[in-house]
Symmetry: C2
């Protein structure tokens, strides 16, 4: 596989690497390792000490945490352009999340040295990382509010809208990201059976439609109303 240069990588426009200087990028490019990750494989696991960050080029990864009851909660879905593992590198502590590929992925592993030295020398970069993290934190707040105040049905309706808005749909309107029922349940924080039951209900009501393992949003407005409790 060709070893593409970060300097020419469009992906970096989506993350904090855009604030790096030419020289810094060159240094990153020389030290980075591009990896292919198969669906279901883990990039890292809870408790690991990360020696760098992962920049997603293709595919989607679920970031989850195991709760004491033995079930996983998916905290975030990371796709093209997103950087994973930065918290561990910045705070120099073990990661609190597990990252598993939801579909086949291509990621670039960037050793932490390139990141930490730039963090100390280039305030623009640090500020840009800060802005992204600031955004993540805001999103996390929204998730907390939804988890605390909405019913499973509402969260599920929202999840479908989220999947479409963030990962898109094909020409026929099918969601580009196909999560298993179990993963969907793990995103909204419910039992797999409950998720399946409610999804069936959505189908009956004509809110969504499925074909094989693909699903399509039929009534956006309806889902939206449901999500807002109307």
């Amino acid at each position: 596989m060709e070893h593409s240069r970060c300097e020419n990588c469009i992906i970096r426009q989506f993350n904090a690497l855009r604030a790096m200087s030419k020289e810094e990028l060159k240094q990153v490019s020389d030290s980075k390792i591009t990896k292919q990750v198969k669906k279901g494989e883990a990039l890292f696991e809870e408790g690991d000490k990360l020696n760098g960050v992962y920049c997603v080029r293709h595919g989607v990864s679920k970031l989850s945490k195991l709760s004491p009851n033995g079930k996983d909660q998916i905290v975030k879905l990371a796709s093209k352009g997103e950087v994973m593992g930065q918290r561990s590198v910045i705070a120099e502590e073990h990661t609190n999340l597990t990252a598993v590929a939801v579909n086949d992925m291509e990621v670039c592993f960037i050793p932490k040295e390139s990141i930490t030295t730039t963090l100390q020398k280039n305030p623009n970069f640090t500020l840009e990382v800060l802005r992204h993290m600031s955004h993540d934190l805001k999103e996390a707040d929204d998730v907390i509010v939804n988890m605390g105040q909405k019913t499973v049905k509402q969260r599920l309706a929202e999840a479908f809208l989220y999947l479409r808005n963030n990962f898109g749909e094909d020409q026929e309107g099918f969601l580009l990201l196909n999560l298993s029922r179990e993963d969907i349940a793990s995103v909204v924080g419910t039992a797999t059976e409950s998720a399946i039951r409610i999804i069936s209900e959505f189908k009956k009501k004509g809110l969504i439609e499925t074909s094989g393992k693909r699903s399509k949003i039929k009534d956006e407005k309806g889902l939206q109303n449901l999500a807002n409790g109307l």
Copy 2:
């Protein structure tokens, strides 16, 4: 009231201001305004455009967000040393949270200019802010997992432990921070009645004890086990 100097303020050891230089601190100190906030008063509300950040000197503030169903979800409790409103200033967007004093407070309002210029010039400061935000994000992840995977009873048990570990107890063992039942419910994401019911149950089981509006943890181990679903 005397206008104390930030340079001498011990509070700042707890937050990112510790990474500011003497001159930067002097500039902050000259532009800051110390405010007394009475219990129940709002420091800022969801949607406000903040012109600075608030550094807590005394007291506790609840940071909450209104959900579409009309109920508040408390996302965080900020106490001595914590800085509120930084996200809004960093991302230059309207704040997504409302901050209300849970008891009488003293806070310092620091105009955003002092913050933003330092963010651009002092990488150490920016990095320190980043570290703190990184920590907040990790905590937010934990909250999400708890909300998604634990029952109300488990979350409530955890809330009591959290209140003691973060805000302490007096000589008799009573929690220093007394939240109303409604606020507790709003922290764990449940109806006030449910919270009251479960708290009564905790009392019957000897896990906690109350006297007036004060409460005391009697059986830490028991609460811990409960929180972990044992």
